[in-house]
Amino acid sequence: MTTLRALWEVSLALCVLAMLALLVLLLARVLSARLFDRTSAVRQRLLPLLLDGDPAELEPLRKGELQAAADLTVEIAEMTRGSEREALLARATALGVTDLLIGRLRSRKAQSRLNAVEALSMFEGSHDYVINALGDRNPDVRLGAALALAQHANAPAPIDIVNKLNESAEENSLLLVSLMVDLAETNSDAVAGLLFEEDLSHRVKVAAMDALSQRGGEYAPLLAYMARGSGNEPELQPRIFRALGRTGHPAGAEAIMEGMASDNWIVRAAAAEAVGKTRLVAAADRLSTLLNDPHYWVRYRASEALLRIGTRGVSVLREATRSEDPVVRSAALKMLAEGRA
């Protein structure tokens, strides 16, 4: 009986506790609404200061105003570029915004640290703080710092950034590709060098390949070389073939042709897609044999590639419309119809 009564009493106590907590939050909400009104007024007052005037005439703001100024600076900076942004950042520095952002790097909230890192990367002279953030305990902040650094000409070497990122846990994000793309803008050879680092994960290398492929045919021979060496790695091959396709360069023709004969349907589909993107006319006959592949994606990519490679491909498709195999016929007919549409 004591237990049963205790259950009742505990339930009552929990109820009261939960209600009290909500009451406190409700009061806090009412207070914060008033604070919001005050902040809005401060923002309105600060906006002209940030948008116009000589930075030398500005004086550092007090803490309450400074927070509003920092938030406002970041919001406007995201919408501006070039000299307009530089002038804005110079005024913000004069108001003391950079000091506040540096302070925010020590915040307990990862969101605050990430925002601070991204904002600081826009200011001249804050480079070291952003580099330090590469060692942050939160992986999102580390990646945010890396992405911010990569947009600058004086970014650290790609291998150093990658090593920092992977120090505590391997970074798996697709944003690695964005990072590599930005790094390749200023130092594409160093990004290409990552492909030859033995200790680096496939994920980083694939991201580097994706980034290099976006530079046109410049690195196509290197990618073709990587493709030839990836024969026994069916998980990597589709990404490499897609990268090769993106270059639009025929350097990888041999590897792509081999890929179309792979046992793995994902590899076959990626190779067929690459044929279409690089317009390998010589692969038209090989593509026609994929029109009766057991897997839809291979048939689709093959027929799409035939359409892309032009006259020769279209004539192969037209021939396939007369095939006795209903699967081949259907693939050719539908793709030709799509092409007409």
């Binding site: 939960a18 209600m19 409700l26 991204e118 590709v177």
Partner: protein, 478 residues
């Protein structure tokens, strides 16, 4: 000898039986409550340590280059009143690479004609997959002016069938299943895709929060003013949805034991969904069943994977505000859960399925299978037995604790979590109203809800398959 007499004494035997019944009801209720509190803790931890949540503009800047293409599948059946507005809203989503596939599931009204005329669509041909089963497709409609839109007209086969047709027609690695009459927040795709960007090799599905749009103002297919509805049933459902999404799904997602991603908004990796045969026919719980099939596939193949739940991306939906429609919906949900449970019962407490077998299925057993039966039994018997003098007052108080008081504290605690972590209700007054509703729902509504669930049990036993009619009033427009 004395003991024998005591056992055979009818009065004592009746008291012992009454206490045994009360004990079963109380222990089952207590187990549910303990489980819910554990979920609440997990949800708190998940929200407290979730990745930083950037603003929409930052989200776009950061993710737009790498965000994988998505096909948004919107099955529509007799939606002529809302389909044009819904499709416009889908086409205006902020996402770098997506296509909208509206599947007209053999509507008997003017859904097809309205879409064709409003968007200037023409009949086209399309090379589509045949990997998952569905009723025959009658035609495809598209327009070069709107390359993102594809209309698929097919024979009626139900929502699961329509989604399967959409899966076959999609040409992207990911697809997002939604209800055509729901409203997605413009950046919902950018937010829900995050697990697929962060862990591209592991994530196979992700769900997002559903919120109730009753009472909100809608402008050009967007929620322009978040307001609480005036209808009591709609208000109660807001509290229910908060508990279901903010506590249960965030918590289960954190445990990696999520057993359902709502059919109104879920993002899936197409390849794995095709591997499990797409959505199942012949069940009203097709959304839950798909997630269970995905767990089964990955566990049996011993492949690492993740199925996540993200609290931020929001899909707005209109909820029933009449007892009859709500009752039908709840009975159907109950039936769906039971169908899934029975179909996959071999996963229950089976170590081969890890935490899905133990936590996920334990949750279904406790909450969906046994929950309504024992709770209704308790409502009838415990007060009656107490009134007859067969149960002492503490038994009644313990029953009231597990059925009312803990329920109230859980609901209020969920509101506290919402306010600390998400703050999605613009005004303090709204939070106060919901707190009052969280108390009131336990007196009358909760009991009624359990009766509807019993009705679902009955329909399940009789193998009833119909969906029932969901009467929608449409969103209020400004």
């Amino acid at each position: 000898m004395t003991l024998d007499f005591a056992i055979l004494d009818p009065a004592e035997w009746m008291v012992a039986s009454a206490e045994a019944i009360a004990l079963v009801v109380i222990v089952a209720g207590l187990l549910q409550i303990v489980f819910y509190f554990v979920l609440l803790l997990y949800a708190g931890a998940a929200l407290g340590t979730r990745p930083p949540v950037p603003r929409s503009a930052t989200l776009w800047r950061r993710y737009s280059d790498q965000a994988p293409a998505i096909s948004v599948l919107a099955p529509a059946f007799n939606e002529e009143l809302t389909i044009v507005e819904s499709t416009r809203s889908l086409l205006a989503l902020q996402y770098p690479d997506f296509e909208v596939i509206v599947i007209n599931d053999g509507s008997k009204d003017g859904t097809l004609d309205r879409l064709v005329s409003e968007f200037g669509l023409e009949q086209v041909d399309r090379f589509v997959d045949r990997s998952v089963e569905h009723a025959p497709i009658r035609g495809f409609y598209a327009s070069p002016r709107l390359p993102r839109l594809l209309l698929v007209d097919k024979e009626n086969g139900g929502k699961a069938d329509a989604l399967n047709a959409g899966i076959n027609c999609s040409r992207t690695a990911l697809f997002c299943a939604i209800d055509a009459d729901s409203i997605l927040e413009s950046d919902a795709l950018l937010r829900v895709v995050r697990p697929f960007i962060d862990e591209p090799d592991l994530t196979i599905a992700a769900g997002g929060t559903i919120r109730i749009a009753n009472g909100c103002k809608v402008d050009s297919g967007r929620i322009s003013d978040i307001k609480l509805p005036r209808n009591f049933l709609a208000l109660v459902q807001i509290v229910e949805y908060l508990r279901a999404f903010l506590m249960a799904r965030v918590g289960l997602g954190r445990m990696q034991a999520l057993t359902v991603i709502s059919g109104a908004f879920g993002l899936f990796r197409r390849r794995q969904v095709v591997e499990v045969g797409g959505y199942s026919h012949g069940t009203v719980g097709e959304d839950m069943e798909l997630v269970l099939k995905l767990h089964r596939l990955m566990r049996e193949a011993k492949r690492d994977y993740r199925i996540d739940f993200i609290a931020e991306p929001v899909c707005w939906t209109e909820c029933p505000d009449t007892l009859s429609v709500l009752g039908r919906q709840r009975a159907r949900w109950q039936r769906g859960a039971l169908e899934c449970f029975v179909k996959h019962k071999d996963m229950l407490f089976n170590p081969r399925y890890g935490r899905i077998g133990i936590v996920g299925f334990g949750h279904i057993l406790l909450v969906d299978v046994l929950g309504p039966l024992l709770e209704v039994l308790g409502y009838i018997l415990v007060p009656l037995l107490w009134a007859l003098g067969l149960l002492a007052l503490p038994w009644l108080l313990a029953f009231l604790a597990v059925t009312f008081m803990f329920g109230v504290s859980l609901s209020i605690a969920t509101l506290v979590l919402e306010e600390i972590q998400l703050r999605r209700f613009p005004k303090a007054r709204e939070l106060a109203v919901l707190a009052i509703i969280a108390v009131l729902e336990n007196f009358g509504y909760r009991q009624l809800s359990n009766l509807w669930r019993l009705q679902g049990w009955w329909q399940f036993i009789r193998k009833q398959q119909s969906w029932g009619t969901m009467t929608r009033k449409g969103f209020s427009t400004s």
